[in-house]
């Protein structure tokens, strides 16, 4: 018999002898103790509780579900209508047509400029009537919704103007007409 065959035979004999160690009787208390341990589970830590998957059953009538959906929509609609201070909901100004009030033959006309620009802090009006000075005519901030208003007496004729929103020159989006300013941009144009 070769050395290799001898080793294989010895391994087989040893394996067979070790297999006799398999016959073991576990203590009778093992099963009841395990069942007792799993019946009273260890107290969960918060992290364990959060990680463990759970099944939730939601019982709700279609009517209640519809009511819940409507309440959710209302909540988000109200949230959208009441922005937090400083929240910029629209970066684009929405102007209202200038409102003109005067007698037909008067030399000067009262014009109301209105610009809606939510999130803006300072809005000025600059035009040929104030020497294009961005600090001369500030619009007043109306309550809450980002509306800025200014009332100006202007002479009859054509007037070019722009709004200055927090330092940015912005043409009036709803101006009656526009005219190139000679620098590649356009001014808003108002005829009185």
């Amino acid at each position: 018999m070769s050395e290799r065959d001898s080793l294989t035979t010895q391994d087989d004999e040893l394996g067979a002898r070790l297999a006799t160690l398999r016959e073991v009787t576990p203590p009778p208390s093992l099963v009841p103790r395990v069942m007792q341990r799993i019946a009273v589970p260890a107290r969960d830590t918060l992290w364990t509780w959060l990680r463990r998957p759970r099944r939730f059953e939601l019982r709700m009538s279609p009517l209640a579900l519809g009511g819940l959906a409507v309440a959710g929509l209302l909540f988000f609609a109200l949230l959208a209508r009441n922005p937090r201070p400083g929240q910029v909901l629209s970066a684009r100004p929405t102007a209202v047509l200038p409102v003109v009030a005067s007698a037909p033959e008067a030399e000067v006309v009262l014009v109301r400029f209105v610009l809606v620009t939510r999130g803006a802090h300072r809005v000025a009006l600059a035009g040929d009537f104030n020497g294009w000075d961005p600090d001369h005519t500030l619009l007043d901030k109306a309550e809450g919704d980002g509306t800025f208003v200014a009332n100006l007496w202007l002479t009859r004729g054509a007037h070019e103007y722009m709004f200055v929103v927090d330092g940015q020159w912005v043409p009036d989006p709803s101006a009656p007409s526009r005219i190139p300013d000679g620098f590649g941009r356009t001014n808003s144009l108002l005829w009185l």
Partner: protein, 208 residues
């Protein structure tokens, strides 16, 4: 072998001597456990109590420690059932449970090493006799003595050799089943097995 040992194996140990579980049945039981029915775990505990206890006993050499480890391993398996992925594999739960058992046994070995508590071979106490062993009392005595020697020799081996001998030779697992339990490549397992048997023979004074 002790005189007061039972002549017949407990039903669950005897009938499940072949450890031949049905994956579908186990999957049903596991799903019931996950649905919040702990009692569905009882058949699994009954089925695998012998192998968990046996592996722990051969790794540790103490019946008290082995019972603690077997309890802990089975309770840990229950707590981790949601992470068990059997995926229809044959004996998937069996090998998963053995991995937990081996790891818990190693934890105990580490703690004993820290506390310098010597391992002692008291494993033969309370062992069952073979149910249909026709041998004479002298034969029984000889077998019991041989098992005591084998257990004592096992405990002298480093745990990395002990665990492969316990899983391969004592419990009769295939290398393919041992691989996920010990998380070692098959080649490494085979080399370790050769060295473990050589050491075992040397300890037993039977080296060639």
């Amino acid at each position: 072998m002790t005189g007061d040992a039972s002549l017949a194996l407990p039903i669950e140990s005897a009938t499940l001597r072949s450890d031949a579980p049905c994956p579908d049945e186990e999957e049903v039981l596991i799903n019931r456990c996950l649905a919040g029915e702990p009692e569905a775990f009882r058949p699994l505990v009954q089925r695998y109590q012998r192998v968990t206890f046996s592996v722990a006993l051969r790794m540790l050499g103490s019946r008290a420690d082995a019972e603690d480890v077997a309890q802990q391993a089975l309770a840990d398996a229950y707590a981790a059932l949601d992470r068990f992925r059997g995926e229809g594999r044959k004996r998937a739960f069996y090998t998963w449970l053995l991995r937990i058992t081996i790891n818990r046994a190693k934890d105990v070995l580490k703690s004993k090493k820290r506390t310098e508590e010597p391992l002692c071979a008291e494993a033969e106490g309370g062992e069952a006799m073979f149910a249909h062993d026709p041998g004479s009392p002298e034969t029984h005595a000889g077998q019991a003595e041989d098992r005591r020697r084998l257990q004592a020799a096992l405990l002298t081996l480093p745990p990395k050799y002990r665990e492969v001998l316990v899983l391969k030779d004592v419990e009769g697992l295939a290398y393919e089943e041992i691989r996920p339990i010990l998380r070692l490549p098959i080649t490494t397992l085979k080399i370790r097995m050769i060295r473990a048997r050589a050491r075992m023979r040397a300890v037993l004074g039977e080296g060639s």
